[in-house]
């Protein structure tokens, strides 16, 4: 019993370092919306800077800590935000996660390289920090040790970590949940555009979040350093992954639970080490414990259910992308299958074939022995990397377990050949079979998990494979591994590098074809269905479990094929060649080129092998080339890693990969325009409306813009005629009385009408190449309700977004109370009193009701709202997303009553509401008008809002068709003629 208590107590004490990291991870994730796998790298780098200042330059503890934590760590946060993460808000999960891998690899390398340069070039005397086993922390060095009753021993370093962890947890809990800063950070993560509409400066908030995140990472690094027995980036990253388990126990949301989770991990580790004697025979069992906890935590508590497996929520909806840039089903782009933008026909000469031909010429005519060997190895890697195209490119699932498939297959094949003398092809088949089984096992969490949780689960499985499976003597044969001599297959003697290179090239082409065929098959359509809308897919006959298992199995098979061939190239399979961590780097390399394109994977494979060798060996030319163009290479192993970080920056600019940039360059007509906002904010919810426009905004890729352009271009050609026809129709039908209304193009100078608060003059706007608004003139008279009515796809949501500042006007002017605000950003317009209630409710679903209100209101004002809407008062603590539609609309408009804005633009406020609720809502509108608010109500169904409207605007195809006072509109005729007979009164 004493042993048990002793182990528990000391485990909890040592678990504090995990708590310290885990709480910071939770903060960083909640504040930035990005799960930073590079968190440990930030911690390491800050600790490294502290070490260089304190130990290297001999600074006292306080100034060294102040500079490292107060200046360096925040600067890292600012730089990361500016260079990488601010741009990635809407990118796919894989791109977000992989950009953090760039940080993980590059940041420590950059720090170490800087010190190398200071020592080698500038001649400073600094320690390189390579074999530092106990880094002095903030406490006394050497540490002081105490013994507690019962024999528990603890020291000053542990005490400082424990105190630091408690302080951090308390601080973070306060900051995140109980300060304005925390509230705005959570709001930005929840709905970035709505946050802008509520006056929150998204850029500033993002920067604050990253600064806070890196500060706490740095704190964990400096405080925790002395209890980690190595000042080594690998150790920090490893400990961070362990701490991820603690963060997951807090569901990645709760700071106190993450804190407790860290202590729990320390305890469980100790108890396992102390009692699990049954596991003595299993290699690395103790070291596996955190990953088992992580896996169990994810599967049991995988509460990240909003994003189900395979759903890349922010990805361009595949069905909307044009055939020009993407394959038919999964949005996959095959280099060989690129088709011309005009007609969807394939190009006569595929870039893939050209690439293959060039590679052949290189292999046979140019490359020397060394580069030939590396190119061959690179092609085998290409094969491995094609497996990412299946699982991540097509399936949208981030798999970090590919190293496990590769190693398992290679070891199996080696075992069969070396021990059992199996023929090569049998061994190859055996390796693939084992990997497929493993693939299915890894896919099991995918049935339940999605997005980040799945990525972390696969990472945990990869570590478990590395630690337990591959160190199993029977399978791995220790450090020696298995010899896998290159076989001769009929006339093909693979012992020759050139033959092997060609065989690999053929295999790469074949796998690419297989991937493309799957993509085009019914399976491919099922994959898209599951990936984009799992529930809908299930109801329409596609089986999500089957699709996911198929994807993982296929991906594992491809990785296995590649793995056996890498081992064939090397002529040996060992369990330690591809550590689990490498899986992160591999995927990052593929994402950098483009994970949706087989060509991206192929290039990633080649560059992964060739690029570091190029850096190490330099560039050498034949003698006739001037020496100035040659370069001797670098001896530092850090340079390649530093350049990898540039890859992350590139990734932030083009989350779809370098190849998508090249693809755009080939289609000069489709210049990419920075689309920094989605129309109508809730693009996802705009089912069926403004479809082309939404597609362009949501995807912000030229690909989607291309479709949108074509869709709209077709409509545009019909516009002029249509507008004329509609005008005539309105008059003919007697909806508006001839002469009483003003023609749309006319200047509004009507007497007796209040001066306009908002004026639009000749406003044109759109997305990418798409123009949606064609010169809109519109006035919103002060203190009046203007109802803007128009059909599906008229551009109403875009108009709202332009008024609010989410979408920039390309021509024309917008004035607010006489002042030109055309170029003023959304959050500034919001602060000046322009409020947009977007179509899909203006609430932050993940924030509580009270937090939603707190974004705009003081405590007193919130009480007013609760008095007015008792339903909200009763549910003030629940997440707003769980309110009913009516309650959500009340939550949107409620705060406006307590603190009336100058202008309210409400986009389809009545959409989907019951008639009784609509009535309540219109009461609120009337109250707001009485409070002096200038209102623009945008509706598809005019009837709903005519009761409260003072002025009516008919809007069609991006133009104002007619406008005039409410009295000039004949209700019955309007209903009958414009909206169909069903709603006409009898």
């Amino acid at each position: 019993m004493e042993k048990f208590l002793n182990l528990t107590a000391s485990g909890a004490m040592s678990g504090a370092v995990y708590s310290l990291i885990a709480t910071g991870l939770v903060l960083s994730y909640r504040a930035t919306g990005i799960f930073n796998l590079g968190y440990g790298a930030v911690a390491f780098t800050t600790a490294f800077v502290y070490y260089e200042l304190h130990t290297g330059l001999g600074w006292p503890v306080v100034p060294a800590a102040v500079v490292a934590l107060g200046a360096f760590a925040p600067l890292v946060g600012l730089a990361l935000d500016r260079l990488i993460f601010r741009r990635l808000g809407r990118a796919a999960d894989s791109a977000k996660l992989m950009a953090t891998v760039g940080v993980l690899v590059a940041l420590p390398a950059l720090a170490k390289w800087t010190v190398e340069l200071l020592v080698d070039v500038a001649g400073w005397t600094l320690p390189l920090g390579n074999d530092v086993y106990v880094m002095p922390g903030l406490g006394p060095s050497p540490k002081t040790t105490w013994e507690l009753p019962g024999g528990v021993i603890f020291d000053s370093n542990q005490l400082i970590v424990l105190v630091g962890a408690v302080a951090c947890a308390a601080g973070l809990w306060l900051v995140l949940g109980h300060t304005r800063l925390g509230l705005t950070m959570r709001a930005v993560v929840d709905r970035p555009d709505l946050a802008r509409l509520r006056g929150i400066d998204q850029g500033r908030t993002s920067a604050q979040a990253w600064v806070l995140g890196t500060f706490f990472a740095g704190l964990a690094g400096v405080v925790g350093a002395p209890v980690l027995n190595s000042l080594d980036p690998g150790t920090y990253t490893y400990v961070t992954f362990v701490a991820v388990a603690a963060a997951v126990l807090g569901a990645l949301r709760s700071v106190p639970l993450a804190f407790a989770g860290g202590l729990a991990i320390g305890v469980v580790q100790n108890l396992v080490a102390g009692y699990a004697t049954f596991a003595d025979g299993i290699r690395e069992f103790n070291a596996s414990v955190p990953f088992v906890l992580l896996l169990v935590g994810l599967v049991a508590l995988g509460r990240d259910r909003s994003r189900r497996a395979g759903s890349i929520g922010e990805d361009a909806p595949a069905g909307l992308a044009p055939a020009s840039a993407r394959g038919p089903a999964t949005g996959l782009t095959t280099g060989a299958g690129a088709r011309s933008a005009a007609g969807g026909r394939r190009r006569p000469v595929a870039p893939g074939a050209v690439g293959a031909a060039l590679l052949l010429v290189y292999v046979f005519a140019v490359a020397d022995e060394f580069w030939l060997g590396l190119t061959t190895r690179g092609l085998a890697f290409s094969l491995v990397f094609l497996s990412f195209v299946v699982v991540t490119g097509m399936g949208g699932m981030v798999s970090l377990a590919q190293t496990a498939f590769v190693t398992a297959a290679a070891l199996t094949a080696g075992l069969l050949v070396d021990r059992y003398d199996a023929p090569f092809l049998v061994a190859l088949a055996g390796g693939v079979a084992v990997a497929v089984v493993l693939g299915v096992v890894v896919a099991l969490p995918a049935l339940r998990l999605g997005g980040l949780s799945l990525a972390l689960a696969t990472l945990a499985l990869a570590y478990l494979g590395e630690k337990v499976l591959f160190s199993w003597e029977w399978l791995g044969n220790g450090q020696s591994g298995w010899a896998l001599p290159r076989p001769a297959l009929g006339p093909l003697d693979l012992a020759d590098d050139r033959t092997l290179a060609v065989v690999l090239l053929v295999l790469v082409a074949m796998v690419t074809l297989v991937i493309r065929n799957v993509d085009r098959s019914p399976t491919g359509r099922a994959i898209v269905a599951v990936r984009t809308a799992e529930v809908a897919a299930a109801t329409s006959g596609a089986s999500p479990p089957k699709v996911k298992l198929t994807l993982f199995a296929l991906s594992a098979a491809i990785a296995a094929l590649g793995g056996v061939l890498v081992a064939t190239v090397d002529q040996r399979a060992t369990g330690t060649t591809f550590p689990a961590f490498l899986g992160l780097v591999w995927l990052a390399a593929v994402v950098l080129w483009g994970v949706r394109r087989p060509a991206g994977a192929i290039l990633a494979g080649l560059t992964t092998v060739l690029f570091p060798a190029l850096l190490a060996n330099g560039v050498h030319w034949p003698s006739w080339v001037p020496d100035a163009l040659s370069w001797g290479g670098t001896e530092s192993t850090q340079v390649a890693d530093v350049l990898f970080g540039l890859g992350a920056i590139q990734m932030a600019r083009d989350p779809d990969g370098i190849l998508s940039v090249l693809a755009r360059a080939r289609r000069p007509r489709l210049r990419r325009t920075e689309v920094d906002a989605e129309p109508g904010v809730g693009a996802g919810a705009a089912a069926g409306r403004d479809r082309a426009v939404d597609a362009a905004g949501a995807a912000s890729t030229s690909a989607a813009a291309d479709t949108a352009r074509r869709v709209v271009a077709a409509e545009e050609s019909a516009t002029a005629a249509q507008v004329a026809a509609d005008e005539q129709r309105l008059e003919r039908l007697g909806v508006v009385a001839g002469g009483r209304g003003r023609p749309a193009a006319g200047r509004d100078g009507s007497a007796g009408r209040p001066a306009p608060v908002v004026e639009l003059r000749g406003v044109r706007a759109g997305y990418g190449e798409v123009t949606v608004l064609y010169g809109v003139d519109l006035d919103l008279p002060a203190g009046c309700v203007t109802a803007l009515v128009g059909g599906n796809g008229a551009g109403k949501s875009t108009l709202c977004a332009v008024v609010a500042g989410l979408v920039p006007a390309r021509a024309g002017t917008i004035t607010l109370e006489g002042e030109d605000v055309t170029g003023v950003p959304a959050h500034v317009r919001a602060r000046r009193g322009v409020v947009l209630a977007p179509e899909s409710r203006g609430i932050f679903p993940a924030l509580s009701v009270d937090d939603n209100l707190a974004l705009r209101l003081t405590a007193d004002q919130r009480d007013q709202v609760y008095d007015r809407f008792p339903a909200l008062a009763a549910r003030r603590g629940v997440p707003a997303g769980s309110l009913s539609g009516g309650e959500q609309q009340m939550l949107t408009l409620g705060p406006l009553l307590a603190a009336p804005p100058r202008v309210l633009v409400a986009d389809e406020p009545t959409l989907g509401l019951a008639p009784r609720v609509v009535g309540e809502l219109l009461d609120v509108v009337a109250e707001l008008r009485d409070a002096g608010v200038t209102l623009l109500l945008v509706e598809e169904k005019a009837r709903a809002v005519l009761d409260v409207a003072d002025h009516v605007v008919f809007f069609e195809l991006g133009r104002v068709l007619w406008r005039g006072p409410r009295a000039a509109v004949d209700d019955d005729h309007l209903a009958a003629a414009y909206l169909g007979g069903a709603e006409a009164p009898a």
Partner: protein, 415 residues
């Protein structure tokens, strides 16, 4: 589709054709490599013999100085068999197996080295050593990886260390000597790391201590490696429960530091012996490490500078001659002894070619370094066996002191 199939077909045809062509020539060349080494380890061009190496430079800084010191002495003395030695330096593999392999390939295929020297890396995996053996390029290094056990082309400066079949009593005898008691009265606890070399240690240590008559009361290889352990108490408790007189830490450096510190803090006052903690310079730079290791012993395979033996004096002299610091770092020591073996073997070879070096190592050669180091290392025995030699240093008042000078003991077969 059809077009692509056509392309593939053409490629396949090309492959078959070219593969066939190359087969004839290629096979001949490879055979040649085995017999005459024409393709790989180059016959020295001109007067120079070029060598270059690969290492985890993070762990073995200073290795270049050690190699350079020894090779330069040979050059000052007129070269080896009339040839000057040129050292390209040691490339850092950054602990990445891929980098190690591509460095090794580059040394052979781009730099055309005579031999790869030095080698000191835990990621010098069989992929790398296989390649060198296949190309007929000798490699000389620290033999803790499988490539130095059983390959004709790989020569460890103190033999093959990754051998499961042989244990050496040098692991045990010095520690027993400093305990001051009879081996048969001693209880020994062995804590190894939870990885391949830990497992090797677990077996070899027990055999060595039992061979000399001590009782092994605890023998586990379950300590996670890589500095990731944040609490050593479960291990310390389990060790102390067995009331040992000697605790053997067959772990990596972080494990040795962590466990030594925790054992000391728990009041253990017997002998603690570890194996990797002899890193000259580290105690002065890192007072926390010195504090944790205070009073413990390190069993080291290189003759410690603290011995002051003729072997050590020779290194100091050679380092001084090339203008290097005469403090013998770990890297400098292992680099020096690797180069010393290489020079000695090459001098014994019939002619200065890789094949002749291979011939002398496989047919019979005795390496006899200066006094105070290995008495004699017999090849080809050393291709499969470790040298049963070690010294014991003690950490006292934050500095290494010589406890048992470098000496050689016995080898024992492992059942």
């Amino acid at each position: 589709m059809r077009r692509l199939i056509a392309v593939v077909a053409v490629l396949a045809a090309l492959a078959a054709g070219c593969g066939g062509d190359d087969d004839a020539g290629g096979a001949g060349e490879r055979d040649g490599a085995g017999a005459s080494g024409a393709s790989g380890g180059s016959a020295p061009s001109g007067d120079e013999i070029v060598v270059g190496g690969v290492a985890q430079l993070d762990f073995y800084p200073g290795i270049d100085a050690g190699v350079e010191a020894r090779l330069e002495r040979a050059n000052r003395e007129g070269g080896v068999q009339g040839r000057q030695l040129r050292f390209l330096g040691t490339s850092d593999d950054g602990s990445s197996p891929d980098t190690n392999l591509s460095t090794v390939r580059s040394l052979v295929q781009s730099d055309d080295v005579f031999a790869v020297l030095p080698v000191a890396s835990a990621v010098f995996l069989p992929q790398s050593s296989d390649f060198l053996a296949q190309e007929g390029v000798p490699y000389v290094g620290w033999g803790f990886m499988p490539g130095f056990c059983g390959s004709d082309w790989g020569y460890g400066f103190n033999g093959c260390l990754a051998n499961y079949d042989v244990a050496v009593t040098s692991l045990a005898e010095p520690a027993i000597e400093v305990s001051g008691e009879d081996a048969s009265d001693l209880r020994v606890a062995i804590q190894s790391g939870d990885d391949e070399s830990g497992e090797l240690g677990r077996v070899a240590q027990a055999v060595a201590f039992e061979e000399v008559g001590a009782e092994v009361v605890y023998n586990e290889a379950d300590l996670p490696v890589g500095g990731s352990v944040t609490d050593y108490s479960p291990y310390v408790q389990a060790i102390l429960e067995t009331e040992p007189d000697i605790v053997v830490l067959s772990t990596d450096f972080p494990g040795a530091v962590g466990l030594s510190g925790a054992l000391n803090a728990a009041g253990y006052d017997g002998v603690i012996q570890s194996f990797v903690a002899y890193v000259p310079g580290v105690l002065e730079d890192q007072p926390d490490v010195a504090a944790a290791l205070e009073g413990t012993y390190v069993n080291t395979q290189i003759p410690p500078q603290e011995d002051g033996s003729p072997a050590v004096r020779q290194i100091e002299e050679d380092l001084e001659a090339i203008g290097e610091d005469t403090t013998i770092s770990l890297g400098a020591a292992i680099g020096y002894w690797q180069a010393d073996l290489f020079v000695a073997a090459l001098e014994a070879a019939e002619e200065p070619t890789p094949e002749a070096l291979h011939e002398v190592m496989t047919s019979g050669f005795t390496y006899e370094p200066p006094e105070g180091y290995i008495e004699a290392l017999e090849f080809p025995n050393a291709l499969t066996q470790p040298a049963p030699c070690a010294a014991l240093v003690r950490i006292e008042d934050g500095a290494y002191t010589s406890a048992v000078p470098f000496d050689c003991y016995d080898s024992v077969a492992v059942e």
